[in-house]
């Protein structure tokens, strides 16, 4: 076959003479590699924070209350975790110097995988060195060309990249709309009846997120599990944001909805949000998850997680188990915070969205010039009340579906009631001014 391609290439090269090719080459003008970027773009003029991003952040010498980082359980700055990380540096060095297959597997990775599997109640866990790469390598390892994946429209960018890399047929259903999903599944069932032979080789998956980062609400997991058994579809859940904060002990949406872990085929999560480390993991039955050790691209062809970050995550999980009130206090804070914010935003054009248990909430603007007004709110609370909020950032031109601009408000374990009240009051007054 390679000879045939070579012969075709030769035939092609003979169509034009070399002189004619020279003329065409001289005429060809390529585009510049990258377009110009305006120098006043906010990304090119950032503000740096001094010191650690804990509850109080100091920027340019001024202290701000931090409600813009995903440090939900306040693990940044905890002495125990930092001491453990430092002792790891003095034992293993900083980098792991190799991929998992070639002397990059450190015993701390194996320990962390065992602890994660035990924490979630599953057989095996596979550790990745980057949260984004976890989901985008896990999905293409199972779903190949010819398979079909049913995905919620509101999924995050990493899942979209994973779907693109997998080359399967993707069917989107409206965000959290179970009737739409049922309709798609029934259509697929109809197709299967027409072509029984093909139906035996087409694998089916549903990919949802535990806590949607773009909408701050939970997926209706019991209904999805019901569909799994009815239509024979495998379920993958991306718990990047719900791991460690949803559920009574932080085990995620499966605990929240009381769904047994055996029903879910695989849970993918990131260690970068609640656990304040780096990396990600996939957890599930050995039959499913073990496959990634040979065919997950981000696992086989990339260096493994630096040992100090693995031990920091281990320590964080131990703290979650030892101090169950961390997760419970955060949940209580989120439910109360939701009520307070809704009260204070009544009458203004700003709208709060999010499920009560989630410590991450979105504030939208109902009106014209959404982005400008949201930016104005962020700047007002920044300058007047020394409160740090952030606009949620998306790469608009690459996202599959347009995401509504919003402000992300995030609660932390460390925040006292007084600080929350002050913050809520500041947001309310800024909102009413506009």
């Amino acid at each position: 076959m390679r000879n045939r391609a070579k012969r075709q290439q030769e035939k092609l090269s003979k169509k034009l003479t070399e002189r004619q090719k020279d003329e065409l080459i001289a005429e060809w003008q390529p585009e510049p590699l990258v377009p110009e970027t305006p120098q006043d773009h906010p990304v090119l003029n950032p503000k740096y924070a001094d010191g650690k991003m804990t509850k109080e952040v100091s920027i340019d010498g001024q202290k701000y209350l931090n409600m813009a980082s995903t440090n939900f359980l306040s693990f940044i700055g905890v002495k125990r975790i930092e001491e453990r990380a430092k002792s790891t540096i003095f034992k293993y060095g900083v980098g792991s110097c190799g991929p998992r297959g070639f002397y990059g597997t450190v015993d701390v990775h194996l320990d962390l995988e065992k602890e994660l599997a035990k924490f979630m109640g599953c057989e095996e866990a596979v550790l990745y060195s980057y949260g984004f790469a976890t989901v985008s390598s896990a999905i293409p390892a199972y779903a190949k060309k010819g398979d079909v994946i049913f995905v919620d429209e509101g999924v995050n960018f990493a899942i979209q990249k994973g779907l693109q890399a997998s080359r399967s047929r993707v069917e989107y259903f409206k965000h959290n709309d179970m009737e739409d999903l049922e309709r798609l599944l029934l259509e697929q069932e109809q197709k299967d009846k027409n072509d029984l032979k093909k139906a035996k080789t087409v694998r089916r998956f549903i990919v949802v997120e535990g806590l949607y980062v773009n909408h701050a609400d939970l997926c209706p997991l019991p209904k999805i599990i019901e569909f799994k058994w009815r239509f024979k579809v495998r379920v993958f859940i991306d718990e990047s944001w719900s791991f460690g904060i949803i559920g009574k002990t932080g085990r995620g949406v499966t605990e929240h909805f009381n769904v047994p872990m055996e029903d879910v085929d695989m849970v993918m999560a990131s260690l970068e949000n609640a656990l304040a480390s780096t990396g990600g993991f996939c957890v599930g039955r050995s039959y499913v998850v073990g496959h990634q050790r040979l065919s997950g691209l981000g696992y086989c062809f990339s260096a493994s997680l630096p040992p100090l970050l693995a031990t920091a995550a281990s320590e964080a999980i131990a703290i979650i188990d030892e101090e169950p009130d961390r997760v419970q206090k955060v949940t209580k804070m989120s439910i109360e915070g939701q009520k307070k914010l809704e009260n204070v935003l009544k009458g203004s054009k700003f709208v709060l969205q999010g499920c009560p248990e989630s410590p991450m909430k979105h504030i939208y603007y109902d009106g014209n010039d959404e982005e400008k007004n949201l930016d104005k709110l962020v700047d007002t609370v920044f300058n007047d009340s020394h409160l740090l909020l952030t606009r949620a950032r998306y790469l608009d031109k690459d996202e599959m579906f347009k995401v509504r601009p919003s402000i992300r408000v995030m609660f932390q374990y460390d925040l006292t009631d007084a600080e929350i009240d002050r913050a809520v009051e500041a947001i309310g007054s800024a909102a009413r001014q506009m």
Partner: protein, 588 residues
Amino acid sequence: MATEVATKRNSPFRFLHKLPIRLTFTEKKAPLLISDLAKESDELKKRTHILECAWNQEHDDEEEEEEETREDGVVDGSDDASSTHDIYGDIGNRAPNEFEHIGRFTTFQVYIAWFALFLFAHIREYVTRFGFVKDLSNKENKSMKDFVPLFSDFEAFYQRNCYIKVRDVFERPICSVPGATVDLVDRVSHDGNWTYEYPGTRTNVINVGSYNYLGFAQSAGPCADQSAASIDREGLSCCTTVHERGRSVSQAKLEKLVAEFLGVDDAICFSMGFATNSMNAPCLVDKHSLIISDKYNHASLILGCRLSGASTKVFEHNDMESLERILRDAIAYGNPKTHRPYKKILIIVEGIYSMEGSICNLPGIIALKKKYNAYLYLDEAHSIGAMGKTGKGVVEYWGCDPKDVDILMGTFTKSFGAAGGYIAGAKRTVDHLRVASPTGYYSSPMSPPIAQQIYTSMSIIMGRDGTNDGALRIERLARNSHYFRMKLKQMGFIVYGSNDSPVVPMLIYFPTMCGFYGREMLARNIGCVVVSFPATHMTEGRVRFCISAAHTKEQLDYVLATVCELGSLSRSKFSRRSHLYKNLQIEW
């Protein structure tokens, strides 16, 4: 073909031309290649002078030819005095890439070995299915037996019956810093590698498998101290994405240093090397462009090309003629699907190829790129820090101008003992990547201790810490690599690649040898890496050594003696050119 047939109309053998075999051998008009143009232009002449003298293009073992040109057994490439000067007049000894091939009979034997393996695998499969041997593989849940099976038959078959037999050679866990020696966690398996038990002991082995080129994998010293101090200063993580509130001071400092180190305007750093390649290629090219990539590019580059949606063409490994032909056809004919010219062309190559140990022909590629107005993306994952007089990578090794390469990409895992990647280039390129790269919107910046480790190690390499530790490391690495390679070739092994690269792939061809070498080397306290199909071609299994500046001469001698012994045992010394090195005194 039609024009050739027409001229032979009066030939009595004209019926023969209608056959589908080529019987006429008319003179082909050779395309106007850069080597022809070089005869006209002086400037280009100097560049091809590098190409021709530096790269020994011969592949076959023409022993008579070799004997008359190299009687004194000197290494290829640096024979006459004029070829040792490069275009800037500096003396540079550059070793060419060598890819010695074995005879066809040995290749046939390798295929027989694979056939035997698969035959036994099939036998084992049937024996297990009928219950004679207990099936220990993981099974799907009984409640899910109506679901479509998750894995295709062949994938599971290969893993269950071939890979599991040699699984103990891969994924060996370590429990100390991966320096010149490393402690391996002992593990035993009583059921054929399905499960492992850990008796709790450890073995200290010489580590020739980790990527530790300059020896910065250290658990004590200035790097470790400063990384630990940076945890106190900035914490372990920022917990936001880069564009939301996560701009960290240590990462900004590092980016400036990287730009200064490489001699370009600006640089941007990422926390994973794999993601650097796969997520940033889509920012540079789109579906109206063309990507021309080398045959042996890394999986992350291939994934990036695929995700970008651009058309892709592959050129033969390091072959400038193949690259030029593809460039000419691409510009002249345009996109075959839309019949429109391509908007831009991006050539993607690597500095050192990790499976071949070969160095890319950078001056040739830059000359072609300038002639045809294409853009160049150079992935220096393995070569940054390890090549060049002051560790600045293949650009310095070849004496080229870093501003000629549009995008310089590299990783910090190998030579700097940390993790992460960077892209450096003109300010305009880097500004665009800052604004358009998805890693900025959806992932957090580098962890501060990691950024600090890179900063300290890079300062040491640049000599900023006041000692000459960096220069010493680079020199030790160069000496180690040359010594090791020459000795291996003297013993009679086939080693791919250039003498200057610290990656040493030793070919053992047979898949069965992989398990043998992996286990026997471990029994003699050496930890090495063996690779076979599917990471390499089916007939070319290899042992890949990664030399480090931390290795001492005694350790290298021990490894060489062991390899010699195992090579004689397994009859892996395939090289037919070892006579060239027979009388050579190789000193460290």
